[in-house]
Point group: C2
Amino acid sequence: MAYPPIVIALIEALGADVVSLRETIAGRRWADWSGEPADIPLALLRPRSTAQLSEAMSICTLYCQPVVVQGGLTGLAGGACTRASDVAISLERMTRICEVDPVSATLTAEAGATLESVQNAAAEAGLTFPFDLGARGSCTIGGNLATNAGGNRVIKYGMARDQVLGLEAVLANGDVIDSTHKMVKNNTGYDLRNLMIGSEGTLGIITRVVLRLRPPASAVATAWCGVGTYESVTGLLSLALRRLPTGVSAFEVMWPSFVDYMTTHVPDIRNPLDERHNFHVLMESVGTTEPEHQEVFQCFLEEALEEGLIENAALAQSKGDAAEFWRIRDSTAEFPVLMPDLIAFDVSFSIADIGRAAQECDAALRNTWPTSTVLTYGHLGDGNLHLIVQVPGADAATVDAVENLVYGIVRDYRGSVSAEHGIGSKKRDVLGHTRSVAELAAMRAIKAALDPHNILNPDKVLPA
Amino acid sequence: MAYPPIVIALIEALGADVVSLRETIAGRRWADWSGEPADIPLALLRPRSTAQLSEAMSICTLYCQPVVVQGGLTGLAGGACTRASDVAISLERMTRICEVDPVSATLTAEAGATLESVQNAAAEAGLTFPFDLGARGSCTIGGNLATNAGGNRVIKYGMARDQVLGLEAVLANGDVIDSTHKMVKNNTGYDLRNLMIGSEGTLGIITRVVLRLRPPASAVATAWCGVGTYESVTGLLSLALRRLPTGVSAFEVMWPSFVDYMTTHVPDIRNPLDERHNFHVLMESVGTTEPEHQEVFQCFLEEALEEGLIENAALAQSKGDAAEFWRIRDSTAEFPVLMPDLIAFDVSFSIADIGRAAQECDAALRNTWPTSTVLTYGHLGDGNLHLIVQVPGADAATVDAVENLVYGIVRDYRGSVSAEHGIGSKKRDVLGHTRSVAELAAMRAIKAALDPHNILNPDKVLPA
């Protein structure tokens, strides 16, 4: 069998240890969790160093060979899916934790390290890497940055980009941008770091990162609150930010549809409050000093009750209680089993708009498809709404219609069609709902400048 | 007198109200505080709206006319200085606070609004815009973002870029990028926002910004500490971050040279501690609840004393005490009078390296120029060192030699030649000490893509 010249060139330069041929690639290593179309790639490269990757990219530039970079393949937008004509690049052999510097409070790691291994290395040094996602055991820190992932604690610690001091990346032509410094302040020219972060492998390949660590949070206070109106939900958030010295580390809001569905469909899940409320809020605040932290939190809850912002609340008295509360929110992991045909949304609004926007989506969906299931929940403190829609017997046209309806409302509110999952291939056609023509033109100009042969994850992110 | 065609075209399109001719420009509106070379520009534009500015840029593109954008002209790197062949653009007529949204905790303003007016508008709404600089009354929020300014509270709240949710900018060709949304999470394509921020007017002109507001900090604890070793300084920072629930809002370190100079040269300034220490640390922590906040802070100080991290400390008992401590640190404002011929540095290192790097600079400078004055201080919690050097009778060659020496040490430590002041024209030639050849090439490619005629602040930031 004759191999394409690019594959022969890669094997000659890097050896069979680095280059796996199409027929030897196993384990669905060409698709992520998005369900987007994917095919087995031409070859899979697994470089052991930045130098090897740089050499591979020089060769791919020479052959104008498209590449797709892969982390833990847990993405939800199709950014890591390959076509038959692509070369896949996995960073699974570049997983080293290079250094933990406890004085500067930094951790340097290769991009293929899993999020969990980064968290563990920080904890071993008596510090914490607070950024967290459900997929922590599989997703890689490089993938987290390439997609600017969000997760559970954005309200306190920010998105993935906010954890980064420096990074190293390989550009399309093989050039290595080594910006792996540990400095908090560095006003020296353009912000290439933030340009690489969130570009989903279309501008460069992140190979090494310097992350900011934080002091460990030893005290955790958690409550499950029943709230009557959306105004009270935002009032509760505002009061929490004013009263709690350490602010809030989670402010998850669930509409009744969500709580009803979870408590009836998932075994052993029950509402911590006896009554049904219009909104349920799972609040968490991390701090440093027990028992003061718990006392301040309890005082705040009492004030919120007195002011009528909450109708009722359950305060976690133990780690077990807190885990019970979180199980309700995290039972979204059961969705693929419960609703294999669900249509999921990850959108953003200003905090002031979420209540109305969510209601508008819900009403329009139920009105158009009366038999549909619509579940609404979100990281409200970050303006991030998740919406789960199931229409019995939906065909492709129905899915399109559901998406058009929701993304239309997002556009009307000047919201974001992707809060934390990214664009990939899945949302490419609705990118223009959030970004203007002038913005898309500027993005295309940047893409053409840094990747003139369009070989880095082509056909992802930017609409054709 | 014949005006150049570009000036005539601008007057025809925008009117004499917007376009001031060279001979009518007064008040040194062509230079900032940097002392960099500057000349009266061809004309000064003062647009009243983004639409007017967009039109002006379309015309400048047609004529390939270089422009320099100006905020409050308080920059220290020469970014706003004009040449005789430039057209200056001032945003002094675009100063509106457009909206404060207390629910979403955001403020929208035109870029010409002063930092102080933004702070005041936030305070009137019961919130706070914590970003702060000495030049707050003159500098503009657009200038703060164009230079990604730093200031006093970076350790807690981050740099200027960390305050921004959305922005509007006019590109070289007159295109308007309207990204003035209020969303915390928005993973939709490339991070144009952070690319504009810190580009010092070379990639686009920021015209409107959406800023993130925070709950007001009602409690402030301040201490002046004497510390024996650099290891104890970093140990003190680490303990503070672990013990103080709200962390630290300032951690300013002064070497003895600085404190000695200030207490002997500036009237009414005295060291709050009787003894001389190897390091003096001005610490501040802001919180929400008095008196608990003060109590926790005092407990922390006692622990630091017991652990031997600090030799002695003065705890501010009143706002007056705190103001006295800050007067020592802020007496740097007297430098232009005390040392008109000073050579000032704004550099960064990893926190672990600052102690050694500062000592190396100090020793090398005093060794080479025995009669020199060298003062060392900095925002240590951010890795930011300021170094003030005066060499009696220094000529231009000596100034060059002093700069070469310090920037050489910065390069050896992989530090940053500009922590918070930016590059402008002043540090253009040492940008390569911090950024690699590959990084500079990527920056140039981006500049060429977004400003193909090189009309936005040409000859600034990127070395020729």
